[in-house]
Symmetry: C3
Subunit: 424 residues, 3 copies
């Protein structure tokens, strides 16, 4: 017997929920709350798409590694002796022991602590004791994970056949990222937050500024105008809009001077590797994410020649967003832990030669986004509690939530594509 609740909080058929999704409305509850939907998301989204998991600056030298948890999988990201970034499942091929416990570190070889099976950082099994004649080490190398690096950011894909459109996306975003030379940065700070909500709520929250009244630190530099046009900007934001238009003109002139691409791109929901890029001025001093818009690091990134270079941002489906400024970058990776918990990893990058205490200090560098993360975390948690309630039903998006709708639309289409190719 299946218990029939008066409301379908535990559907037998997520296919139906995906199939009947109403455009312009939030998703039905079980897609945010159930273990079954979490497993579906792991299978349809996180196992099949490219995920941003680390900055190259986190593994600068051969042997440097980080481990990242993608759903049930721990993945080792390691720079090999040829300076290539590699990715492997963090599991010994003997009896399955976890190889590396630490979140980051440096190794010569990868040696399993249980029975000393020893792997090269390129994944080859080099040695295992007490094997019978005919044991073939080449059959027991670490299981590889697809890995690509774009503009200093490391993406992995757990699929056997990753989405083929990633090359195209990489080629198109690279001209925007290249001037920042993010491969020549270092990690100034990194914070992990466990959000008390489904990963999709974390993403949706990021994709709109309808709630930006709740972000006083952010809006002291960021124009809270996401989704608005000159026609529909509300009276309370009219003066902000005027400053925004002047700052936009100045930013565009700077781009022209520096040969930086002028136009944004927005292909959020019409391809496997959905993405958008946009370049927006900042308020106040207009230089960086601080109260008042002042710079937070004295060394500019890469070849950027203008402090007032605004906020270049890249959004990628399913799990990341990036803010690049003249003096630092702050980048975000979203990794689901369970139906109602999600890891948000925020990483601040500064020029490799910047000196802490001289060129920057961490509290100032991280102030705006630390505060913003904490506020968003509360919004996500209260939304999770709400969508778990049988009283929840999907509601309509406002006119300034277009990128939320694009995320949801991308999600629904990708799950449909997965279901269409999966035998049940």
């Amino acid at each position: 017997m299946t218990i029939q609740l008066d409301r379908p909080t535990r559907p037998d058929d997520l296919t139906d929920l995906i199939g009947r999704h109403t455009a312009g409305y939030s998703l039905e509850a079980p897609l945010y709350t159930s273990r079954e939907a979490f497993d579906l998301d792991m299978a349809a989204i996180f196992t099949k798409h490219w995920l941003f998991v680390a900055a190259e600056a986190e593994v600068p030298e051969p042997g440097d590694f980080v481990t990242v948890q993608v759903g049930p999988s721990s993945v080792i990201i390691v720079r090999d002796d040829d300076e290539q970034v590699r990715a492997f499942y963090n599991v010994c091929r003997h009896r399955g022991s976890r190889l590396l416990d630490d979140a980051r570190g440096s190794v010569g070889n990868l040696v399993c602590p249980y029975h000393r099976w020893t792997y090269n950082v390129d994944g080859r099994l080099l040695h295992a004791d007490n094997q019978p004649a005919g044991f073939d080490c080449s059959r027991f190398g670490l299981k590889p994970v697809h890995v690509r690096s774009v503009g200093g950011f490391v993406f992995i894909c757990l699929a056997d056949e990753p989405p083929a459109d990633f090359d195209d996306v990489a080629a198109r975003i690279d001209p925007y990222l290249a001037p920042y030379e993010l491969g020549r940065t270092k990690v100034a700070h990194q914070i992990d937050i466990v959000e008390q909500g489904n990963w999709k709520l974390v993403m949706e929250n990021n994709r709109e500024c309808y709630h930006c009244d709740g972000h006083p630190e952010l809006t002291s530099a960021y124009f809270p105008l996401h989704g608005y046009t000159a026609e529909d900007v509300p009276p309370r934001l009219r003066r902000t809009w005027d400053r925004f238009e002047k700052a936009t003109a100045a930013l565009q002139a700077s781009c022209v001077r520096q040969g930086f691409p002028l136009d944004g791109m927005r292909e959020l929901d019409n391809r496997p590797t959905g993405f958008m890029v946009a370049h927006a001025p900042l308020d106040g001093a207009g230089k960086s994410y601080t109260a008042g818009g002042e710079s937070v690091c004295r060394k500019r990134l890469g070849s950027i020649a203008d402090d007032r270079f605004g906020d270049f941002h890249l959004h990628m489906q399913p799990n990341s967003w990036f803010h690049l400024l003249s003096d630092h970058a702050v980048v975000f990776s979203v990794l689901p832990l369970s139906p109602d918990t999600t890891l948000l990893r925020s990483t601040w990058l500064v020029h490799a030669d910047a000196v802490e205490g001289v060129d920057y200090d961490v509290p100032t560098l991280t102030h705006v986004w630390s505060a913003t993360n904490a506020q968003d975390s509360a919004f996500v948690a209260r939304t999770q509690r709400g969508v778990e309630d049988p009283g929840y039903q999907p509601g309509p998006y406002s006119e300034v939530e277009g990128d939320v709708e694009a995320f949801v639309s991308w999600y629904v289409s990708r799950v449909r594509a997965h279901l269409a190719t999966t035998a049940y």
Copy 2:
């Protein structure tokens, strides 16, 4: 494959367990332990029946609210500007954010903290920013929950069509409640306990005094004779019985003087809104629930004219019991949290004009039932541990557990009625 345990601790078919229930015996284990039975109880009992959730005294003024958790649902109980008590799901109609975090408080409007959607305390959506032309606020009011107030107690029902017999029950119990004028009380104290047991074990424990040797504080005032008659009272309780008979005669005389109904009513298992009322004298001084039976508040409730007015109690299925005394009332609401945890909320009410520290003090007021709750909580927890054990099998009720049997009988019949009307 379904794993077949040697004993049916995880049945596929709760319908069978309900169908084969043996009258006079406790329920089979999965009904107390499984997630499936919990979901069934939510669907068949807590979503379909009237539940006691608050005293009116908890929301005395317009805008005053409490939030209560009924299974997966948070419900706002709020007094509107016309002084009517209203109930709503505590979920925003936009993207589902929880509206109110606090267990109690006071508001002007109900404003969602996420995107500022603003509702009147009568549930109407008053305002939402950035909506397209044609957006119709009237489609997005808060989702209402049925609510009724009887004799100062607030009941809600989550069903689309609540049981129709509630009006009859309300009419029949009102003459007993009215003299206490519980609408003119205030909350002197409230305690929430999370019991480590299934909600049915909490109810069953309340419905008998076979275990009252474990309640020395309670039995210093309460006659531990529940279920006994003059014929079967055991020798060790014979002297207690003699005092009980004398006190009963005095109480009946007082009822006659005051025009209070003499007879009890017991319709525990033959209707959707099962209930019973009974009026019993107290031991010792006979006035209230204290060691020795002395009063705990100097102000008598309502029109009660006699300190020695015993214990008038009301039991209601599925989730409440109420003790009304000349000087205070103590009332109990049981709300399931999970298969093996249950919230027991105990609320002590005194006359609205009683002054703490002058007319009553909280430790004295709450002493007997705080101790009793703690003792019962231990009994419930050890029973939960036992029924989770494959060594458990339903056992027979004794002759003084008739109201436990009535509760179980009511439960089985209500689940059967639910299953008969639900398509699978």
Copy 3:
């Protein structure tokens, strides 16, 4: 809809996994990780086989009891007034209350704290209040569990019909155990560890010394040669092997002198009650499990006449191993708690007349195996994390993991036997 993950981390059909097991390889992941496999193991293994749960020395006097948790069941092991060891489910036959909370103690009768139902320590219901005429106490005695004592060790079986080969095994191991007279010992120390891994990983870890580089304390006395032969012992262990051969000759001479059986037995995977016994010398002083091999208790066990009597060990499927030395015994019981947690109980026994502080001290007595347990616990935990990872696939056993393979082979055959006799 069943979500189809790209890898079968949540199989619908454990029967298939058992059916396709590859000899010589570790088990497939779901058998170590899933709730379904845990339930299967409870049904096929822990409900159907004899389990070592206590030493007789834990219940020396009538009324002495211990309670042990076997999966969802709590079992009382109690010595009755005729000095027989009895076992019962720890559940009252009335409404299912847990009878005994404590892990050990002593009672006259077994009295339920809830409603005072009173049982003799032989399980008979002696008294229950308020029963109707015709109530038959003999129908409501405690539910018995099969119990056998062999050489001072208590085994229970939850099956209706326990494996019949236990008598044979008992008869064959008794001559090895008898000289130690373990019934005349006392418990010097007992430690419970909750391992963060499936019970099978705990057992597999015990069944090989391939990882013994990780046990420096153990290998100061124990020859880390398990699974090796004179032909395949690696060069780094050659000198150890030479010492081992000399010590073996001396031990055999001592056995002949004392009339102790010379030969081991190894029937690990060809019968329901799989077992092995072996007698091995110790390194260094060769007397006991200490750094250097010195004795840890001045009183020898039973009739053992030689301090240098090595390590007699008994392994039993599914859940135990025993080390008997001239001066003490240390014995281990493995009890699954959940798919990924397992209780390991280690008990040290010394001569009943040995005096703590005079003949032995606990830190010295327990040093080697306490350290070894902690090291093994870390190995088990990291293996559990690994096999939960979709990157895990079963790997090959080395030449020195034959007893691991035998355990796995026994397990697979016993589950197959269970599935063959169970209707689905």
